[in-house]
Symmetry: C2
Subunit: 192 residues, 2 copies
DNA sequence: CTCAAGGGAGAACGATCGTTCTCCGACTGC
DNA sequence: GCAGTCGGAGAACGATCGTTCTCCCTTGAG
């Protein structure tokens, strides 16, 4: 998922990014070595280091490209199915993908966010961009608050689906999102 | 946080778990070596391996103990402040802790869930237990659905707070949770 | 005091990592 | 055909990891 069609003119950089991206996402960053990436990409180690000066640079490119593609796919789906709630329909399809392993940015942040500024920044930027996207789908004077709430539902659904393996998390989150969006801001009853 | 008071009779196992737990949580599991744990715990390497036969075993013990303590603290807070929503007040305090680095189970799952069954299982069990706890705080015929929704808000809030560093995520989630709990199941309007 | 036992400090070992280097075969222009 | 260049395959290197082993000092019993 989130891969571009394999064109004939695809250069080595893309080959490497495809292989590394799949491995990083599936098994984690530290668990995948450069030698394995080299084998999966079908390039020589020398060329690998010509394309990316270091593993850190490769990791950063992987995250940047995944962020772009992930948001493109999401935006594409929502463009064809208007309404914020369609975000959760798209999530459901993603969760049902056999290769689904959670959010690459949450995973990377948990693994390396404390030691790598680049990874931490990539995760922050990804989530900020997602929040901005959700904001664009909302109207009303409490858009900001609702965008924040939806962002949490999205992240919670991704995490829950990843850990439990149940794509139904998307439906649960969609239901919650519908309630949050439908409901008038100030309720009558107050349960504490 | 989630540490027991340092008693005089604390045995070496606890010393090691304290040191390893703090390091694992702060920097990730793979980023912390046994030598560093040994130094932080102030025990010899020989004794470390007498307490835990391998790093895997130490990691599993770390996760199991953290799960127990985390849920004890949460349950303690909610016992003193009845109502599900107090969960989010407790989360806020946790998020504001300088050492807060997200959910240890989400982080570990992202880092090692694909390669270690023990870690994946620990994360699943932790989230299942949390869901059970939330379920216990709810009444009504749609308790199950609401527990699932609250679980997502909790995980989403933890993740968002970890990545953005803003403890206010707890308030946002609390607001959403209040709406979800207050709202009657079937709304009149339908926004799609 | 002698001596056996145990534990502490950390060296040693084998594996693996990221990165660089070496070698060698294949292609280019002439 | 041939010198020269390029790139592929993977060995080599230094660092670091988890784990084990060695050495030495302490301690307590007799």
């Amino acid at each position: 998922m989130f891969s571009a069609p394999a064109g004939v003119g695809m250069d080595h950089r893309e080959q490497v990014l495809d292989a590394a991206g799949a491995l990083f996402y599936e098994r984690g960053i530290q668990a995948v070595g450069m030698a394995e990436i080299r084998t999966a990409a079908g390039v020589s180690l020398k060329r690998l280091y010509q394309c990316f000066a270091s593993k850190d640079e490769l990791v950063e490119s992987y995250l940047r490209r995944r962020d772009r593609r992930w948001r493109e796919q999401l935006a594409g789906h929502v463009a064809g199915n208007p309404g914020v709630l369609s975000v959760f329909d798209w999530l459901r399809d993603w969760f049902a993908d056999p290769g689904f392993r959670g959010c690459a940015f949450i995973n990377s942040f948990g693994e390396l966010g404390a030691t790598s500024d680049a990874v931490a920044r990539a995760a922050r930027e990804h989530k900020a961009a997602l929040r901005e996207f959700l904001l664009d789908q909302l109207t009303g004077d409490d858009r900001e608050k609702r965008a924040d709430q939806l962002l949490m539902l999205v992240d919670g659904a991704i995490t829950t689906a990843a850990i439990t393996g149940d794509p139904g998390a998307a439906d649960t989150a969609r239901d919650a999102a519908r309630t949050l969006i439908t409901k008038p801001p100030n309720s009558l009853s107050s349960v504490t």
